[in-house]
Symmetry: C2
Subunit: 355 residues, 2 copies
């Protein structure tokens, strides 16, 4: 059953659902917008998804949890209230402090006649564009969520634009596992691309035992790294990462201590040609730069990265390194990450213990 479509034209970027203007009165994209139009009716190139689960971005959830912690105990009800208030006000789940969102899983409910996403009604999908630009309506008050974890059971709907990304959830993997892979699938794709541009590089991944970190380590090995170094903050993660076999070397260092980080990586034999930052804590820019050899590349995937700290840090250290803003999109990124998981038992174990 097709519903009537609005008459005015749509833009593949979703511009037609932006309700506000930027500071100067100019048109802004959905990600930069304060408010989105969540109307149920589709423009011809859109897709509507019935939401099943939201996965909040880690940096966003940590900020919300920290803000609502009293006497060392997080107040889940307060976190839930704030998420509901954000979505009600903004028409999307975008943390006003971190700017980040997350992703969602659901089932395709309606496909506009001009959609080019290749989806069909009934497809079980994960959206791979951020919640920070996805029109979202929550219809159950998040009553099944305790506010204490990033994974949010939810009922409601979300809208995908003409130029958007959603991937079918594979049948051979548990949905939660697929999702947690898709959530970070930009990192291994970009890591692979950068590693392939170097001749047998040494690759250090800060936060190597995490989701994007372990996939990035596996991608680096597949793309031809000479050696991979996984950096973790403590002995417990070090043991897990060693046991997984995903990294050639495992070192323990506080990524916020630039000299400690540099020295720990250098002690494995050499500085890194490529350093991949996958830990969502602020203050890792200087250490990542110092840990990277001249003409090397730092890829920042952490949403806690400060642009000015990276730019001024490299200048202050006279560091001739290329610094990349981790782009969460590359063609085929979801399938590539799934394939890494399926073919790498160690990565899979690291993922499964987090579910």
């Amino acid at each position: 059953m097709t519903e009537s479509h609005p008459r005015t034209g749509s833009d593949p970027t979703g511009l037609h659902r932006v309700l506000d203007d930027g500071p100067g009165g100019q048109r802004v994209l959905p990600q930069a917008a304060r408010r989105l139009d969540t109307r149920r009716e589709l423009w011809p190139d859109e897709v509507r998804v019935r939401v099943e689960t939201l996965n909040l971005d880690a940096a966003s959830f940590r900020q919300l949890e920290g803000k609502h912690t009293v006497d060392g105990r997080p107040d889940g009800a307060a976190v839930r209230r704030e998420v509901l208030a954000i979505v009600a006000e903004r028409g999307k789940m975008q943390n006003p402090v971190t700017g980040s969102g997350g992703m969602l899983i659901g089932t395709v409910e309606e496909v506009g006649p001009e959609s080019s996403l290749g989806l069909e009604v009934g497809d079980h999908v994960a959206t791979l564009v951020s919640l920070s630009l996805t029109p979202l309506m929550i219809e159950d008050g998040l009553e099944r969520w305790d506010g204490l974890a990033e994974r949010v059971p939810a009922d409601g709907y979300a809208i995908l634009f003409g130029r958007s990304i959603a991937a079918r959830i594979p049948d051979d993997l548990a949905p939660a596992l697929s999702l947690s892979v898709m959530d970070v699938c930009g990192a291994p794709a970009l890591t692979h691309r950068v590693v392939a541009q170097y001749e047998q590089p040494v690759v250090a991944v800060i936060g190597g035992a995490g989701k994007s970190g372990s996939l990035s380590l596996a991608a680096a090995a597949r793309a031809g790294a000479q050696r991979t170094v996984g950096v973790v903050p403590g002995d417990e993660e070090a043991a897990l990462l060693r046991e997984s076999g995903v990294a050639d070397d495992v070192v323990v260092a506080d990524a916020r201590d630039p000299i400690a980080l540099r020295d720990a990586v250098a002690a494995t034999g050499a500085l890194a040609d490529i350093t991949v930052v996958c830990v969502d804590v602020p203050g890792c820019e200087g250490g990542a730069i110092l840990t990277t050899a001249e003409r090397g590349t730092v890829i920042f995937f952490s949403m806690a990265t400060s642009f000015s700290a990276a730019a001024l840090g490299a200048e202050g250290l006279a560091a001739d390194v290329t610094m990349l803003v981790g782009n969460g999109y590359a063609p085929g990124h979801a399938a590539y990450a799934m394939d890494l998981l399926r073919s790498n038992e160690g990565v899979r174990r690291l993922f499964e213990r987090r579910l």
Copy 2:
């Protein structure tokens, strides 16, 4: 005449001159330190510069002047006393409120035997790392400074670390012109490097009539751009840029309006393969991404860039673009920028009208 060097090892970042520990007890880099060691004797990889002029950072001077204004009149003697007190206490000129420093001009006095900065005794140089991390001893009580301007005639010495940056001041250019080129010299160097990685790319520079913008346009042309597009916010700058001949095409667009920016650049014939963002206004990330063709590169030089807006913006637009954090340093960047200025009459005119 070589002096005796301290026996303990030095670190190229200057860590050996940090006298305090950071908040968490971890070692901090000189920029984050409260106090630096200003001893005259050099570690083997250091350079000592006889100071001639300090140029206080504009934000820092404004704060000091405002603090010491009585009845609407700035008290220069009080400003001078405070600068002397800061330097005496911290061993560097770092404004405790703004955190910023500035730069200095002077003459190389001694070069450690293991210095790799390529400087010689007697060289007239500007330091391109911030005063906020440069050990500084003032020896004349700033008696020639009235405390009423950012430019501070001074006698004393400063220390450059193993890994630092200083550029010789050319004899053939006015010092003020040289300094304004050095201030932005990272942009053309990185633009050149990226353009050279593409086959005859189209290069768009947002803020093309500005200092870093005009140098980046000239660098793009020299590095083999097929065509350059200068984007400016208004007709006056458009006329100036056209008259300079520095860009092949000049278009007027508000860079904060993604669709307008994309359409303006596309109207010159094609989207850009490389987009260079040189305007210090927030909210240009989405437009820069949309203006860039698939597999293109965006270089962000603006300190107003939001990391998360760039990362999530590209993902949200399913844009397969490489995004670079503009690094203010590349080897030879100052000399390269000076050469562009000398050889490009249009760039020189754009600079001189700003002095």
